[in-house]
């Protein structure tokens, strides 16, 4: 067996496979199918300062090789997480990472501060795709100054590994990643969902309650891979790659493009045991190609 250990800043992962926020619950939902301790890291549901009900139903539309969701960050709030969920997770022997979301800088910092106090949580993933309610509703992640502001503010209150999750709905993803790096991020993860839309032609109605929503799944892989490649060339911090990873080959492609670790999202819905299969598949690939460590394939694309 090859050495699958990889690093995201100070964070050590036993293998590069993590779960994408919002697609794996808190991990416990999948415990019947996989040994959670065989997963490199579990990134839990997006958590906000206050409880959120999320968007009205319908929240889901299927698209060619993908899906659009409009969950809208439904969650019970950080206090509930700290009091009720964290105790159930803290003894799982893998990295548990909290995905932190918000609609103002104060939301983000307050939430990050609460998580900072949790002993067994060594990293947060900052979801900056959320609309900035105070500044006109544009997503935090779409402008460099806003990225610097929110990341800088969280950096001040959070002293463990800070991963910033980027939205792909931008003109120049490399510039955004550099802004996050500059503001103190230890890593960037990408991509969050592409903004998409689906229509029921017969009923002449949108298929989801919010009209537009987040596209994910196999269909987004080419875009995600391109962005990971562009970002990995632009920044010095480690990159976490995701978007449409359905199998080990896909995961390896992201690592070749420059990702130090990967996340699996929508694929969990199609095969709830996919995470450990991907970890095994990466190992097989490394063995077959004579690599001793997974680190040898990070950014190993020959161009």
């Amino acid at each position: 067996m090859a050495d699958l250990t990889t690093h995201i800043g100070n964070l050590t992962l036993k293998n590069p496979v993590m779960t994408a926020s919002g697609t794996f619950g808190f991990g416990l939902e999948f415990a019947d199918f996989v040994n959670l301790e065989e997963i490199g890291g579990i990134i839990v549901k997006g958590t906000t300062l206050h409880k959120r009900e999320g968007n009205p139903y319908p929240r889901l539309a299927e698209t060619p090789m993908g899906m659009i969701n409009a969950v809208g960050l439904q969650n019970k709030g950080v206090d509930y997480f700290v009091e009720h969920t964290y105790p159930q997770l803290k003894d799982i022997n893998t990295q548990i990472i909290v995905n932190v979301a918000g609609h103002s800088i104060e939301d983000y910092t307050a939430c990050a501060e609460r998580i900072n106090a949790l002993e067994k949580i060594n990293a947060i993933e900052l979801n900056i795709s959320c609309p900035n309610v105070k500044e006109g509703g544009m997503s935090f992640g779409t402008s460099c100054p806003m990225v610097e502001k929110v990341v800088g503010a969280v950096r001040k209150v959070y002293d463990k590994t800070l991963i910033v999750k980027l939205t792909p709905n931008v003109t120049d993803i490399a510039e955004i990643a550099k802004a996050a790096e500059h503001a103190g991020a230890d890593s960037v993860s990408l991509i969050n969902t592409l903004m998409g839309m689906a229509i029921d032609a017969e009923k002449r109605k949108p298929l989801i309650s919010t009209v537009t929503g987040g596209l994910s799944g196999a269909c987004v892989k080419p875009v995600a891979l391109r962005m990971v490649w562009q970002v990995a060339k632009a920044v010095k911090i480690p990159v976490v790659g995701l978007g449409g990873i359905m199998n080990a080959t896909d995961a390896i492609e992201f690592m070749l493009a420059g990702a130090s670790a990967i996340e699996i999202g929508t694929a969990n819905f199609i095969d709830p045991a996919i995470t450990v299969k991907v970890a095994k598949g990466i190992d097989e690939y490394l063995e077959r190609h004579g690599f001793k460590s997974v680190k040898e394939i990070i950014g190993a694309l020959e161009v």
């Binding site: 139903y57 929240r59 299927e62 819905f269 709830p272």
Partner: protein, 258 residues
């Protein structure tokens, strides 16, 4: 209940009326425990237009043959593809999912099981389970027309069967809520699965008579595991997942305007 990902082997695929099929699936090993009202998420293979799994109720479990039955109505690409399955083919299922019907306090009580269209599917397993537990249920099934009534013979084996058809070709003419049995007998509990308007009509009736009533919802699902939060329904306590908090809900939990 522990969940599994299982490659079932198709024993048979029978075409029924109303564009429906009855799939009998053999478990390769021990058949998991499952309760009436639970469902499976099936993976449709060889279908470019079906990316996600499809939720299908457990219609019946024949432990003597180690078989699970699914009653499927062909409405789109995924279900049509299931219609093409042949004996010997494999069908990958995540099973069992959801809460199931609450049968804990019905012993010796008068229980009505109402099914509409392909919503009859979970009622067969529910009826058979109740009967095995010593409570012979009454079934009331509704359909647009005679040919759309499914599995009548099987229901009859498990209790008294009444039917309604909208065109009067079988049973009483009209909707299930018009059936005379509802006035003739006093039921202690009603279980319903079918189109939403039908479920709401039955729920309204039950509420007016103060009868305990459970309905099985069919929201769109991605994971079936309570992870994605796509399948929510509005309840008295806010959004709840139909896949894990449901699919069965007591009508008093829901935010239905009835």
């Amino acid at each position: 209940m522990k969940k599994y990902i299982i490659d079932f082997c198709v024993s048979s695929n029978e075409a029924l009326g109303n564009n429906a099929i009855l799939l009998k699936l053999k478990a390769p090993g021990q058949m998991p425990e499952m309760r009436p009202g639970q469902f499976v998420e099936v993976k449709v293979e060889n279908e470019p237009n079906t990316f996600l799994r499809r939720p299908i109720s457990i219609n019946y479990v024949d432990r003597s043959k180690n078989e699970m039955w699914l009653l499927v109505q062909k409405v789109g690409n995924g279900t049509r593809k299931l219609g093409e399955l042949k004996a010997g083919d494999t069908l990958n299922c995540v099973v069992p999912l959801g809460n199931g019907f609450d049968t804990s306090a019905v012993k010796g009580k008068k229980v009505l099981l109402v099914g509409g269209g392909v919503g009859v599917a979970p009622m067969l397993m529910l009826g058979a389970t109740l009967k095995a537990e010593g409570t012979t249920p009454t079934f009331l099934l509704g359909a647009r027309t005679k040919d759309m009534l499914l599995e009548q013979d099987l229901f009859e084996k498990n209790g008294q069967l009444y039917v309604t058809t909208e065109d009067g070709t079988a049973g009483e003419k009209g909707f299930v809520t018009n059936h005379s049995i509802l006035e003739k007998e006093n039921f202690d509990k009603i279980f319903v699965c079918g189109p939403t308007p039908m479920m709401k009509a039955v729920a309204k009736f039950a509420k007016s008579k103060n009868i305990c009533c459970e309905v099985s919802l069919e929201n769109k699902m991605a994971c079936g595991l309570g992870a994605c939060l796509c399948c929510v329904t509005e309840t008295q306590e806010g959004h709840k997942c139909v896949c894990t908090d449901g699919p069965v809900f007591n009508i008093n939990e829901l935010a239905w305007q009835i």
